[in-house]
Amino acid sequence: MAQKSTLLTPRARVSFLGSAKSGTHHAWLMRLTSFALLPLTIAFILIVLSLPGRDFQSARILLGSPCPAILLLLFVSVGIYHMTLGMQVIIEDYIHGAHAKHLALMANTCFGLVLGAASVYAVLRLSFT
């Protein structure tokens, strides 16, 4: 690192300032997940449309069947990843204080992980119990 010529001061580097060499990665992930979510959202709507009026047993049978369960797993995992990336941009746009911003970004990541784990656990439990 010491040999590498850079205009960035060491102080700026440890503060995560300057180029992260990944400028387009976030935008690419947003586009990739949004394309994947188009068919997955249609599948999700069809699954939800067949829910009203079902009792506990028949709702379990629907949600735990292989095809709806796999589509639900994909919808919640890709969807929650997409929304976590999206909320990251909203936080970066509107929260400017360094501490508040980093706390909000961490809370956003944790929210996505907890929601993702809970949803995946629920669908797997519907499928295997």
Binding site: S34, L38, I45, L49, G53, F56, L63, G79, I90, A118
Partner: protein, 137 residues
């Protein structure tokens, strides 16, 4: 790094700011862009409801009936109707961005048509889906 409080700097020495959105004349693309972000944030909260429903269904008959009663209540149905519209409007926004990403639809007529069309399509599809859901239940 600590950011200087702008209000502590004399007005004539402050850096120029971009105009606040309140002084812009509203345009369809501006409304669609704001709606895309707003619906994204609304769906962020709505996903909490989806996770809660899935957990309730993965529980026992008692938790499932409890969740069904809440989502089946008038207020629950109203929230789900709003969720449907937010989901479809955000989906239309995604399609609009995909068209723009392909380099198409940038001329004034097309971009306004895309913006207004996304509101119209989301509204019509939401109402249609709810009519279908009431017919088949």
């Amino acid at each position: 790094m600590a950011e200087a409080d702008p209000s502590s700097i004399p007005l004539e020495q402050r850096r120029p700011l971009s105009p606040h959105m309140q002084i812009y004349k509203w345009s369809p693309t501006m409304a669609a862009s704001i709606a895309h972000r707003a619906t994204g944030a609304a769906l962020y909260a709505g996903t909490l409801l989806l996770a809660a429903y899935l957990l309730a269904a993965a529980g026992d008959a008692h938790s499932f009936n409890f969740a069904s009663a809440i989502f089946g209540s008038f207020l629950g149905q109203l929230v789900l109707f709003g969720y449907t519209f937010a989901l479809l409007l955000h989906l239309m926004g995604g399609l609009r961005h995909a068209i723009w990403d392909a380099g198409k639809g940038f001329d004034p007529e097309s971009r306004d048509r895309l913006a207004i069309g996304s509101f119209a399509a989301a509204g019509v599809l939401t109402v249609l889906l709810w009519i279908v859901s009431f017919i088949i239940r």
